[in-house]
């Protein structure tokens, strides 16, 4: 790996001039030419590690997500990537797997690698981003906000969406509407369930008996759906709080030949890669990619010195129903 010293020697200039050429500062045309030629000849690539050490910040942002195998998060990641790339930033994607320890490890790394900022969909509401903020590293929470801190946030209306989907099931005549939601300490799981509970408040359904905390994954959706169908008085419909659990729930309904509309189904989030359109299904569509793009823009603003007060952006989600 050639260094700026070698390039400088070959071009007959000082290292500082080489640095200036590569950073777009004023250098006389003939020297620029000499430097570029020498750099090409030596296949010189600036060493980003040295640059980062010197400048105290890199042009890399971290995106921490809880489940890289969930298409919702990969679409969100695409949104982040597209915006960041266009601004000359690279994105490193970190999969926390919903695990606190892994998440913390990645946050540590983002600090000790001097990354420019972090976009995080927190593993749960115990996530601490204070350490980053205190050291002046911009952080944007996306999809879910960590409870602990005042931090820029981009999310959808979870409670409203959950309530709307549930009301739609009610309007279609279902009465014993169950709820399958995510982990107990995840904001989206709590809020979406709260929306369901709010919509069901007028009825006499035993909310605890007809709701399940699960894991936002296919297997969890399967298990919860199976359990609910085994109740003495099974639900006649179910509100499922994310895309993957809806896949699991639907698998069970297919296997038991109790497809919608026999059992009503409302999903918070689109079914990924669906082939057979489930006609009698209510869906809250989420702007996954747009969440990512918006979060990235906010982060880039902060990185370039924006010091406005903390803000929360709530993107709207649309509902479709048969």
């Amino acid at each position: 790996m050639a260094t700026i010293y070698e390039v400088a020697a070959m071009a007959g200039v000082s290292p500082a001039t080489v640095s200036r050429v590569f950073n777009g500062q004023r250098v006389s045309p003939e020297r620029v030419k000499a430097v570029r030629e020498a750099a090409d000849a030596l296949a010189f690539t600036p060493n980003r590690v040295a640059r980062t050490l010197r400048r105290q910040n890199s042009e890399v942002v971290a995106l921490v997500i809880p489940d890289i195998e969930n298409p919702f998060f990969t679409a969100l990641a695409r949104g982040v990537e597209d915006v960041a790339q266009a601004a000359g930033f690279s994105v490193v994607l970190c999969n926390s797997d919903g695990d606190h320890a892994k998440e913390e490890r990645y946050l540590d790394i983002s600090l000790s690698e001097n990354m420019a900022g972090v976009i995080i969909a927190a593993a749960d509401d115990h996530t601490h981003v204070r350490r980053l903020l205190d050291r002046g590293r911009p952080v944007v929470a996306v999809d879910r906000g960590p409870a602990d801190a005042q931090v820029d946030t981009v999310r959808v209306d979870n409670r409203g969406g959950g309530a709307a989907a549930t009301r739609e099931l009610l309007a279609r005549g279902y009465r014993r509407i169950a709820c399958i939601t995510g982990p107990e300490h995840v904001e989206t799981a709590i809020e979406r369930r709260a929306g369901w509970a709010q919509a069901m408040a007028g009825t006499d359904l035993d909310l605890d008996a007809y709701s399940r905390w699960s894991d936002f994954r296919v297997a969890g959706g399967r298990a919860a759906m199976t359990e609910l169908l085994e109740l003495p008085e099974p639900p006649d419909a179910v509100f499922v709080a994310n895309n993957l659990m809806s896949v699991g729930a639907l698998q069970v309904l297919v296997e038991q030949r109790r497809l919608p509309p026999e059992i009503g189904l409302a999903s918070f989030g689109d079914l990924p890669f669906s082939t057979f359109a489930v006609t009698d299904m209510t869906v809250v569509h989420l702007p996954a990619r747009n969440l990512g793009m918006t979060a990235a823009r906010m982060l880039l603003d902060r990185i370039s010195g924006d010091t406005e007060p903390v803000r929360t952006v709530v993107l709207s989600n649309s509902l479709t129903s048969p």
Copy 2:
């Protein structure tokens, strides 16, 4: 951000001792204690940038994939991650989007960030990994091998799988078996198609008329399937060379109400997140996660100094059929 100098001052030792404590070298118990206490008090985190600059290599590996929204690659990524994490390495995931320029940019970054190594599913067979290898950075190709270089590779038997799936369709009585494959310069697309062609060689089908080069994505599968069904003599079956295009093809078959077995379907790769099991479908199952784990192990071996000759590992894939 505290530095080792501040920790050293507070603990009453030299910076070297602090470094030694954090790198597990021999230091007397009392000094270890003093250093740890000072470090805690100052919330000291070692600066990885400085460490990397000094050591000339980091404990980060890059994983470059062509489509982060394809569940096959995210499963592969999980495999890489699990193995790498266990060995104390972090993985940064880079999405090349099948785009040469982006891919090259990430490879440059991996070099200039002094990353320990790279695992790459190449955008296409023009990808150059020589530059990395020449500079002593280990590289492992996964899923697809760049044509240019002698490089460790982990893949499946694409041609064999394609041939087996096609033969299975033949055995089930289909005759005009079409093929939908990926981009023309991608090894997996070429080889899977070659397997199909090999199996069809004994028949009198016009192979060019009944095959389509596409893009390994849902939309491409849809378009190709639609086109094929509009032929004067439409195929009675189709071999689809990846999971996402199979989703697209199946969507078209569902919409046109010509589901298997009316039109035979064989897919190279499982349908992601399927709810309705397509009963009359032939599937070549791929060990996505295992590909990632194997590639990661090979890379870690190389990083720790393994200098054996270049090797290729071919993982087996299994076929299921009604």
